[in-house]
């Protein structure tokens, strides 16, 4: 169980506030996702929880061990995977794994069952130097190394950043299986679509949690009416929508535009307005919100 209370952290002698009072808790065997854009404070939070950084104030307890006072014990029970690949590039896959196993006074054999699923995929390349691995394989190796000492809590800082979509999906499948083994997992990501893979998520912005709930709960809390608009000449379309008074917000979402509208506006009215502006073949449909829509709504308030 992870318990965090009123965590503050600032850099540059107080000029930059990375964390502005964060409070949350994670139950045993839960996947908790911290979701937010770059620079929101995710890495600072995780580094504090991994006992690598001292908070200015506040308490963080990992399975009953305080990260400041009892950091030695904390380091025994956590597995930490930093955002950047930081294993030895000039050691082979197997040497890296053996190295970290030995530092924790264990062996690969002893905890092989934990990493078997993951390690088997990179075992054919075990004599290859870590620096020569692909992005997806690097992440698998890093996860193996973080798991080799059988941690109770996994702290994964943006594990899927820069990894291809297939490997990302595989990675989340692996986390699901680790959760079944009873490991508590704290994971951060900038990809909103990964939120649904977590049991609970927290949206972080400017060092503050702006919402914390199950992904479903966050979506259900979404109060606005959300439509998607598709058409040609996207940027012109976007500014046309922004000029329409009944449209409250509009954001580009890939090849669509998501808009929130005032109550009572009919699809036909908007279509007519757009037709006057020479947007003929637009498709407008009410849609269900995603976590990203929720994030947008919460941050634009």
């Amino acid at each position: 169980m992870i318990e965090v209370k009123d965590l503050y952290k600032s850099y540059a002698k107080g000029k930059v506030n990375a964390l502005n009072g964060i409070t949350f808790s994670v139950e045993d065997g839960e996947i908790f996702g911290v979701i937010g854009p770059d620079g929101a404070g995710k890495s600072s939070l995780f580094r504090i929880l991994a006992s690598l950084l001292l908070p200015d104030s506040g308490i963080a307890v990992m399975n009953e061990h305080d990260v400041v006072i009892d950091y030695r014990k904390v380091r025994q029970i956590i597995g930490y995977m930093p955002g950047r690949f930081s294993l030895y590039q000039d050691l082979s896959v197997e040497e890296n794994l053996t190295f970290f196993a030995t530092l924790f006074n264990t062996t690969i054999e002893e905890n092989y069952h934990l990493i078997k699923d993951i390690y088997q995929q990179i075992e054919p390349f075990k004599n290859r130097r870590a620096g020569a691995l692909s992005g997806g394989m690097k992440q698998k190796l890093a996860l193996s190394c973080a798991l080799i000492h059988k941690p109770e809590i996994l702290i994964l800082d943006e594990p899927t950043t820069g990894v291809d979509p297939v490997s990302r999906k595989e990675f989340w499948d692996m986390l699901g299986r680790l959760k079944e083994q009873g490991i508590t997992i704290l994971v951060s990501t900038a990809y909103m679509d990964e939120a649904s893979r977590c049991d609970r998520i927290a949206l972080i912005r400017d060092g503050k949690f702006i919402a914390s709930d199950t992904p479903q709960g966050i979506i259900e809390n979404y109060a606005d009416i959300l439509w998607s608009v598709e058409g040609t000449r996207m940027s012109a379309l976007l500014s046309a929508l922004r000029d329409y008074s009944a449209v409250k917000t509009s954001f580009a979402f890939g090849d669509k535009i998501h808009i929130t509208v005032t109550e009572g506006l009919q699809v036909g009215e908007l279509r007519q307005y757009l037709a006057e502006k020479k947007f003929d073949d637009v498709r407008i449909a009410p849609i269900k919100p995603t976590v990203e829509d929720c994030f947008m709504a919460l941050t634009s308030e």
Partner: protein, 378 residues
């Protein structure tokens, strides 16, 4: 202990996997000892000289020949007047001008004394000073040569008067480096330089590299203690430092026949004491740097101070007192001094105890500082 052994194993693995470092360990000392002692030398040779010979006599011709034959000078030109010679100097075609007066031969024979004029381009101060010294020596030599020749041509009564003239001959005895070979003086210095680079700088850069690559974070979340981590960084380079010393001592013997007149074991032992102190400096640098660029820059700065104020090229005793103060806390100057004592003076271990103690104290202070300045968490 098991962890330490494993960490050291990892360092050696990485070291030998790096295509450059193992080769450098062997090539570095050999190249430094093969090339530098010949080039880095304060023996000034090939000074270009213009001789303005107004006398055009046999004596002046002999003096010119003698200067040319000395090996220190290259006769650039024999211009007709001083002005042309001066122009040559202004165009940087010549470094020195020697002007022989027209009355040179008659003065020599009649008055047994004569003067010559000399002008030196002293933009390079060392060259100017040494060049004029050489010329003075050659001219003095020449005059005593003439004196003994002239003795025979003189009537006996005048011979006696010349004999009564006071003659002061300074006969220098060069102790410990009888051939006045600059190489013998510089080689022990180059050995210290090698040790400084390998044992002070490489481990520091290595630790900063782990910071830059983020691997130090992975190490920090393991139960490995800081002491083990640092020892594992230092020990391999201590070993490499000793290997380099052994290669250097052997190379100095094979290439130049230079073998410590004192004890070779004392050379290696004092090298170890030096290694401990200089790696402390490296650790401090690694604590204060976050990136390799910062570390390299700091390293450059300290290396310059260590070497230039360490008495490798210029004797500490001739430095101003503030620079001597710096030298007093400079392990480089202690080891350079120790090596020269062991190599040239034939000192024994007991004779260099003072230096070893000083280096020991520096080692304790620097390493203590390194431990103190290490911040466990940001």
């Amino acid at each position: 202990m098991k962890t330490l052994k494993f960490l050291i194993e990892k360092e050696f693995k990485q070291m030998f996997r790096n295509p450059l470092i193992p080769r450098m360990i062997v090539m570095y000392p050999i190249m430094v000892l093969l090339v530098f002692p010949w080039a880095v030398s304060f023996e000034i040779k090939n000074i270009r000289i213009d001789v303005v010979d107004h006398s055009k006599s046999t004596y002046s011709k002999r003096l010119t020949d003698k200067i040319e034959a000395s090996g220190y000078f290259i006769l650039n030109d024999t211009p007709p007047d001083y002005r042309t010679a001066m122009l040559n100097m202004e165009h940087n075609e010549t470094d020195m001008i020697l002007e022989i007066p027209s009355s040179f031969d008659t003065d020599m024979v009649k008055n047994r004394t004569s003067g010559v004029g000399m002008a030196v381009n002293s933009v390079n101060g060392t060259m100017g000073l040494l060049g004029s010294n050489y010329i003075t020596q050659i001219v003095n030599d020449f005059s005593s040569e003439l004196r003994s020749e002239l003795m025979h041509t003189l009537p006996p009564q005048s011979r006696a008067s010349i004999k009564r003239m006071a003659q002061i001959d300074i006969v220098p005895q060069y102790k410990f480096n009888p051939s006045l070979d600059y190489k013998n003086f510089m080689i022990p210095g180059f050995m210290v330089l090698l040790l400084t680079l390998i044992c002070g700088i490489l481990p520091a850069l290595n630790i900063v590299m782990e910071k830059e690559n983020g691997t130090i974070q992975q190490i920090n979340v393991t139960p490995v203690s800081r002491i083990h981590f640092i020892l594992a960084k230092l020990i391999p380079f201590w070993v490499v430092g000793l290997v380099v010393m052994i290669i250097s001592v052997s190379a100095a013997y094979l290439l130049y026949g230079l073998w410590p007149v004192g004890s070779v074991l004392a050379v290696l032992f004092s090298a170890i004491v030096f290694i401990l102190s200089i790696s402390g400096l490296g650790l401090i640098i690694s604590n204060y740097s976050e990136t390799m660029q910062q570390a390299s820059f700091l390293v450059m700065f300290f290396i310059l101070i260590l070497i230039l104020l360490g008495g490798m090229f210029t004797p500490v005793s001739s430095m101003p007192s503030w620079a001597q103060l710096i030298a007093a806390i400079n392990p480089f100057s202690y080891l350079a001094d120790t090596f020269r004592m062991l190599y040239l003076n034939g000192s024994k271990l007991a004779d260099v105890t003072g230096n070893l103690l000083a280096m020991g104290v520096i080692a304790v202070i620097l390493n203590g500082w390194a431990v103190f300045s290490y911040k466990k968490r940001g």
